[in-house]
Symmetry: C2
Subunit: 195 residues, 2 copies
DNA sequence: CGAGTCGTTGAACGGAATCAATCGTCGTGG
DNA sequence: CCACGACGATTGATTCCGTTCAACGACTCG
């Protein structure tokens, strides 16, 4: 989430904090939407219950993400949110946020920009997932996410990175090692560096 | 794209049409952003040129999509847009669109809603791509996209659907056939139906 | 009529998933 | 404080399924 924007919302809207233990739910499908949420730490899965009684995984929100954005524009949630691990959430009252945005075009524009960025990032990851070769997939991903120093700072465990780019963590570790041995990549504590 | 919103933009902003032949570019990386574009028909690929001289595929925009949304908030394009097949584009002058949005919060809210929906859809597809089994992937995708009658109307060739869910068209055809033979799915002209 | 593309099918291969086991670390509660 | 559980990280062996390459028919469009 755009830090600047978040800060502004913080001071203007006074969000409330909330902690969840693993397994607890933040909201359930069908619940009225009262808050717009931002995940500070932890991991939350969004699942949709199908008519047949099954479940479909919609998304796994990781630390630093907003989620269920579409809920801003609907009365009830279309999916359930369950903590995969202990999580801290920051939430803005939906009605407050909406009226605030209405009054302040600059803020709305900021949110629009954030969503646009979100769309772009998702498209990129989406395309990365179409790369069949695990090695190429990793290199492309790191190339996209790294900063000017060719470094990618990790805000989540490697396991989650693997999931994000659509491969099993086993394969991910193996390929990382190969890349490191080949001298293409360097691993450090909390970062990956492309050489 | 939200049809209602598009219609409103249409009447209020008088977009200009544009046709591209296969291989022609709409804009190149580094170009100034003058228009916000909507793809009516055809297919457009967005590629980013890397420092090493290589190319990275960012996204393949299909009929009915907007693309390069983030360009609304930057001065220059960060990627190039090239027509994969003959395409028709509708474009709105960026400055017009921005000032229009500024003046009309309702329109901006509409766009925000559209982006939010976009994010949700992308997340769903993203998660679908994490399903390893081709069969399950197809069934899940159709389940998500179909209407109340369990029908999915196709706005694009099957080949593109296959690409969208991250599998080769060969596998897609094969699995479709299996599903049809198993009586799970029905194929018709321009639609898929789940039984 | 020929070029181009979608749709379809076949055969063979390879690489990633899968299952399984181990180690280290961190936090927690008795 | 230590034992325990939970989880991330790591490595090995095996299997399988989707990719790849290839070829062909149908259809549209210029």
């Amino acid at each position: 989430m755009n830090k600047h924007l978040l800060d502004q919302f913080l001071t203007d809207l006074k969000p409330s904090g909330l902690s969840l233990m693993k397994g607890e739910h933040l909201f359930l499908q069908g619940d009225q939407v009262e808050y717009f949420c931002f995940l500070k730490t932890g991991k939350i899965k969004l699942i949709r219950h199908t008519v047949e009684g099954g479940q479909a995984l919609i998304h796994v929100a990781l630390a630093g993400e907003t989620f269920a954005e579409a809920s801003l524009f609907s009365n009830a949630f279309h999916c359930s949110a369950i903590a995969v691990s202990a999580s801290e959430i920051m939430r803005y009252k939906k009605s407050d946020l909406l009226s605030y945005l209405e009054q302040k075009p600059a803020a709305m524009k900021g949110l629009l920009r954030m969503f646009a960025q979100q769309v772009r990032d998702l498209r990129t990851v989406n395309e990365i997932k179409n790369i069949r070769s695990a090695k190429e997939r990793i290199v492309t991903f790191v190339s996209n996410e790294m900063n000017e120093d060719n470094e990618l700072c990790l805000s989540m465990p490697l396991k989650d990175v693997a999931y994000k780019i659509g491969m099993t963590h086993e394969t991910f570790y193996r390929e990382l090692k190969k890349l490191e041995q080949a001298g293409v990549l360097q691993r450090g504590d909390g970062y990956l560096k492309l050489l």
